[in-house]
Amino acid sequence: MRSKVIIWTVVAAIFGFLFTPVIIILVYAFSAAPIPAWPLHGFAVHWFADTWNDDEVRAALLLSVEVAVLATVMAILLGTLAALAVVKMRSASREVVSFIAVLPIALPGILTGMALASYFASWGMNLSYWTIVAGHATFCTVIVYNNVVARLRRMPRSLTEASADLGADAFRTFRLVQLPMMGSAIGAGALLAFALSFDEVIVTTFTAGAQNTLPLWIFGAIRLGQKLPEVNVVVFAIIIFTAVPVLLAQRLIGDSGRVAR
């Protein structure tokens, strides 16, 4: 009994440590004061309307969504194809290739960002919308790849063999057996990739030109100490934008775990 109390106290302390700052920001979004201060001076919702009407924020939001969607689409294509290829490989080459495949997420973002920036520069490419997408696709692809590879590894090889045995060529097997069985893994990977892209700062800093994604806008606003109430509102929105896909992804992974068995 006592040990239970201790365990729960520790758990509560850890969660408190992790989430109190987040909750404070969420609460600040409703503060009437133009500068975040404790205790709160009055309750206000007008910051939401103000933020929504701020063209800079709108442009940043639109850019973030567009980049996240495009990077996710690229990640789905590249990650899924890479996973399909890697599971077919023999053990030695498989280890090498899957190491290279997950490298982008193991590398510090600042390295990826610098490398991409100098690479783009060496080709004489201007930093733009598309360079951000390419930067985000590097780590988004890994997320999709990891999810799909895990699913394919759990999927017995006999299923694709059975399909071929029953007269289906490789494309039909892909369409009728592999794709339906990978579907939820691809979906989960895509949602996580979207969430990751949506709040990415470091790689974006190096690959964005004049554009601001939402996280970059926050970064700038905080550094300059401007529009702090709006920052709170934007953070509020980002939490929703990223938490929902992550929760959905977890459900997908859980569901398909049952199906795959």
């Binding site: 017995p156 299923l159 063999e161 059975a162 399909s163 045995d165 029953l166 009728l176 069985m181």
Partner: protein, 344 residues
């Protein structure tokens, strides 16, 4: 013997070899399976029997050699272009499809219209007594039911040859025996050639027209169950198929030995050796004795419990006995002869 021995060959392997890296799975294998046969590939795990099956199915390509199906070399055709179907050890049912969709899968791949394919699939499910289960998913079935779906899914395509990879391995004993009878019945009714992989010698003996015994990537012997049991071509076959006593180069099956009182009179056509019972194990239908002969060798003896037993066995540990067997029962094995050819 019967009609089957003169039937035309349907599957022929000629000089087929397969290695995985430096590990040799099959070394220059020759094998002929005839139309309509129930042919079993028997051997311990790693002996090459499953590799042989996978080569015939097309999941593996041979390093060398030819694989003929109906006289045409299919060694380099992919599985979906071969008129054979496989029942997998883990059944390999598609978890996201209903049973009807599973069974109709092969027909749909061959461009049969959906309505017709589903009607055929329903018939095939009825044939394995699962008519009412068509709309269920594989996860909702028991192991035995999944096994029958796998069978229906393969047989509905009317393959030239049905390949079965230890299909009963995951079932309990009672269900195994039921399915053995069921498989024999299906094979008899459809006339489809069965190539059956198992490591279970009882299963092989009870179901097969002919058996190929595998060891270390080679075939030790091909023959009828009778041939393998009564005239094993090597010590390996003698030992793997049934249990055996080796007396020098002579093989003696345990059930051919009788244990008589020590002073019994024995006719001249018999061999008689005195010894002492070391161990007696009651096994229901039979009793197994371990006898130490006075010359130092050990004999396993099987005795059918034909006379009603009282509350103790006829012979106990320590009984002096005379082990007697007809001289003709001891078969000399020359292990240099590997009988891979046709069985006359």
């Amino acid at each position: 013997m019967d009609v089957k021995t003169v039937a035309a060959p349907i599957v022929q392997l000629e000089g087929v070899a397969k290695a995985y890296g430096s590990a040799v799975a099959l070394s220059r294998l020759d094998l002929t399976v005839r139309t309509g046969e129930f042919f079993t590939l028997l051997g311990p795990s790693g002996s090459g029997k499953t590799t042989t099956l996978r080569l015939i199915a097309g999941f593996e390509r041979p390093d060398t050699g030819r694989i003929l199906l109906d006289g045409a070399d299919v060694a380099n055709l992919p599985p979906f272009e071969r008129a054979v179907n496989t029942v997998f050890q883990d059944y390999a049912l598609f978890p996201h499809l209903t049973l009807i969709e599973n069974v109709a899968y092969g027909l749909r791949a061959k461009k049969m219209p959906k309505a017709q394919a589903h009607a055929e699939a329903e018939k095939a499910l009825a044939a394995v007594k699962l008519a009412e289960y068509g709309t269920r998913k594989p996860a909702q079935l028991s192991g035995g039911q999944r096994q029958r779906v796998a069978l229906a899914r393969a047989m509905v395509n009317k393959p030239r040859v049905l390949l079965l990879d230890e299909p009963l391995g995951a079932l309990d004993l009672k269900l195994r025996h039921q399915m053995q009878a069921e498989l024999k019945r299906l094979q008899h009714e459809t006339g489809i050639t069965f190539i059956y992989v198992t490591h279970d010698q009882d299963e092989a003996l009870s179901m097969s027209d002919r058996i190929a015994v595998f060891s270390h990537g080679k075939i030790e012997q091909v023959g009828t169950p009778f041939d393998l049991y009564e005239r094993p071509a090597s010590e390996f076959v003698a030992d793997f198929v049934g249990s055996s006593n080796m007396l020098g180069r002579a093989l003696l099956r345990p059930e051919k030995i009788r244990l008589l009182p020590e002073n019994a009179a024995v006719a001249g056509i018999n061999t008689a050796r005195p010894g002492v019972v070391r161990e007696a194990t009651y096994l229901g239908a039979v009793t197994r004795y371990q006898v130490a002969l006075d010359d130092g060798s050990e004999l396993a003896v099987m005795e059918a419990n034909t006379v009603p037993l009282s509350d103790h066995l006829r012979l106990g540990s320590g009984s002096r006995v005379l082990a007697v067997w007809p001289q003709a029962a001891a078969i000399t094995i020359s292990s240099t002869i590997s009988n891979q050819g046709e069985v006359s």
